[in-house]
Amino acid sequence: MKRFLVSGGILAFFVLVFLPQHSLCAPRAVPQGPVFDAGEIPQGKDLTHEFLLKNAGDEPLVFKARPC
């Protein structure tokens, strides 16, 4: 009985701690290189860069960029 309770407790612990993170169906936005420093550039040259946003979740990631 005691063994059963201990096993059940351990199982409950893992279910409560880990299951919500892994089974929760949600997108997860992970920016790849969120800061980019282009260094010195001559005046007039366009400053361009491609930022990458990775979806590490298990649901589609919807996003909208706003320059500020």
Partner: protein
């Protein structure tokens, strides 16, 4: 892709792009883009303000061009708009070696119209990323008092 024109920058560029997402844990992601803009051909002042000037008068200001780069800069032409209002001391092309500077004389002939007048000086260069540089000019033309009044 983020693209920023550096034409109006003379020092540091710092831009942030905020991305709103449907991630329940990271609803707002921020990307930062920065650079140090090097003004190779510096023209001072950036705005020529003649201030208050009376009708039918002539006033003169000086623009100073300086090559702050590491290679010579060729100024291919210097012109003013409107030519009826603004003229130059000299319009010949010239070359500025690194560290060298040169003054350009800008002359304003106010004419008979009252009010604010606007124009510009345009320098065409051989710089790959800055083929022309524009310096705005403005003045406030005031009515000349009649000596009989």
């Amino acid at each position: 892709m983020v693209r920023i024109s550096t034409r109006s920058y003379t020092s540091q560029v710092l831009k942030q792009i905020r991305v709103e997402t449907n991630d329940p844990e990271a609803g707002l992601v921020t990307f930062t883009l920065k650079a140090q803009v090097v003004e190779i051909l510096k023209v001072a002042p950036r705005l020529v303000n003649f201030g208050k000037i009376l009708q039918n008068q002539t006033s003169v200001r000086e623009l100073v061009c300086e090559n702050q780069g590491k290679d010579p800069v060729r100024v291919l032409s210097v012109e003013t708009r409107p030519p009826t209002l603004l003229s130059l001391g000299g319009q010949e092309p010239f070359v500025l070696k690194p560290g060298q500077s040169r003054a350009i004389v800008v002359k304003l002939s106010s004419g008979s119209s009252e009010g604010y007048v606007h124009g510009y000086v345009r320098l065409k260069t051989d710089l790959e990323f800055l083929p022309e540089k524009i310096v705005r000019v403005r003045a406030d033309v005031k009515k000349k008092q009649d000596p009989g009044q």
